[in-house]
Every structure is written in C-alpha cells, then in structure tokens.
C-alpha cells in the first residue's frame, strides 16, 4: 500500500467515525459524550485532510486547493490504477 493509499484510508476511517457520530447525534442531540467524540474526530480529520491535499491534490475546493488543473486531474473517484491501461 502506497503512502497516499495509507493516508486516504485514515481519512476514510476518521470521516466514517465522524459521520456515524453525526447521524447518531441527529436522534440523540443531548449526548455530550458523543458530541465530544465528534469534535475530536473532526479535528483529526481536518489535520489529515490538509496534509493529504497538500501532497496529493484537492478533495474539496477551498482557498488552499483552488488550482483548476489539480481539481480536474485524474483519477476521479470511480477510477483506479487499472485506468488508462
């Protein structure tokens, strides 16, 4: 597994944990412990995403990643290493 894949895996894991807490909090808005966990994962995800985008190109468009060529560059999410062979 490449460094890029390893980082994307961690981003996916943090984002998944964050999302699970997010939808749990929709129906349990008073759960302080879940809200704390949500804040914790939110910080971890933001840091990892910033590092990833600085190395491998944008996941979202933001002031740090407003490079048109980087945004349109392959691969798109439905493509993988098999592409273009």
């Amino acid at each position: 597994m490449s460094e890029q894949e390893r980082m994307m895996r961690r981003i996916n894991a943090y984002q998944f944990a964050l999302w699970e807490l997010h939808i749990y909090l929709d129906t349990h808005p008073n759960d302080c412990k879940a809200a704390e966990k949500h804040a914790e994962y939110s910080k971890m995800l933001a840091e990892m995403t910033e590092e990833y985008e600085s190395k491998y190109g944008p996941i979202h468009e933001n002031p740090n990643t407003a490079n048109r060529w980087a945004w349109i560059a392959d691969p798109w999410p439905w493509e993988n290493e098999e592409e273009g062979q």
């Binding site: 895996r9 997010h22 939808i23 929709d26 129906t27 979202h60 439905w78 993988n80």
Partner: protein
C-alpha cells in the same frame, strides 16, 4: 445546497471485469430499492416533516445515499471496463449494451428504467418513517441477494459495507419513529397528522 468531495465513502478497486454481475448490481443504482430511490425518497419527505431531529436525519441519510449511489456506479463501471464482444454476449450483457454501451444508466436488474413510482412521499410522519424503515430492509435484502452471486472479494467488500449501512440507517429511523410518537397523542397516535392538521 451540497458540495462534492472528490473521493468515495468507501474504496472500490475491482481488477476483473464481470458484466454478468454488473447486470445484477445495477439494481442498486436505479432499481426499486436502490440508492437513487432512497436518496430522492428521504430528501423529498423532509420538507413537511415537523420535528427537527427528523428533518436532520432525513437530510443526512438522504445525502449519504448519494455517496452510496456513487459507490454502486463505480462498482458497475469497474465491472464493465475493457470488455470484448464475446464477453458481452456470453455474460448476457448484450441487451444492456445495445441501449447504453457501457454507460451507467439508472435501471433495475431487468433493465426497467428508474421510476419514482417505487417510492412514496405521503406527507404524514408515521407513514413516511415506516416507508423508510421498510426501504432500508428491502435494500438490505437486495444486498444479501447480490452477495449470493458475488464471489470476487473486490466486489463483496464494498457491497458488505453498503449492506451494513442499511442496518445502521434502519436503527436511526427507528429512533426517529420513537421521537415522532413521543411528540404525539399517546392515547391515539393517529388522532391528527402533525404535518397538516392544526396542532391540538
């Protein structure tokens, strides 16, 4: 509004084409219990939903379903790359191919185009949330059925992820049903429709 993230919710990396399997999995792209229908159902039901927790859960799960639609589109796309005419014919993919080549078209496993006739927006909290609970179970059954025919671990892994999400969504909607009934007349939940009738 929505913003796009240039990534999948869960990775899909399929090495070997399998058009016969793609023909089955497309059911979750444009079929009656598929991700497109799920997303449109929840995102449409939320407008008249009276309770904040329910507005949130319908918006968020409706949004997650779009990420699942993208995963299913990716699975079908990766299963139908680099096909030869022989493979297309042998797999029974020729009927789909004549209409769409290898483009990803929202249809069910038999080729029936996506239709909103398979979903409902009833404008009544209890009716709508029960439809949503049923929809998650029907999608779970479809994924179970797909897993009966899928041997490739590259395909099984993301399908199992999507199956597990149906179970989690069912749980969240179940909590939603509790929140709805807690807000209603406990002696008769059907005394009035909180989305239409004046509050008692």
């Amino acid at each position: 509004m929505w913003t796009y993230e240039k990534k999948l919710q869960y990775p899909v990396n399929i090495k070997n084409p399998n058009p016969a399997l793609a023909k089955l999995i497309i059911a979750q792209y444009g079929g009656p219990d598929g991700e497109l229908g799920a997303s449109i159902r929840y995102l449409s039901q939320r407008y008249t939903m009276p309770y904040p927790e329910l507005k949130a859960i319908l918006t968020d799960i409706g949004t997650e379903e779009l990420a699942h639609l993208e995963m299913i589109g990716t699975i079908v796309y990766q299963l139908t790359r680099n096909l030869t005419p022989e493979q297309i014919k042998q797999a029974g993919f020729d009927a789909y191919f004549v209409n769409h080549t290898t483009g990803i078209y929202p249809a069910d496993a038999s080729g029936m185009p996506f239709t909103a006739a398979a979903l409902q927006v009833k404008g009544d909290s209890i009716s709508d949330i029960h439809e949503d609970l049923a929809a998650e179970q029907k999608a779970r059954t479809t994924y179970d059925n797909i897993l009966r025919f899928a041997d490739d671990p590259d395909v099984r892994d993301p399908i199992k992820f999507l199956r597990a999400r149906e179970v989690v969504h069912y749980q969240r909607f179940g909590e939603g049903l509790r929140i709805i009934t807690d807000n209603m007349d406990s002696k008769n939940f059907y005394a009035f429709n909180p989305q239409f009738d004046p509050k008692k």
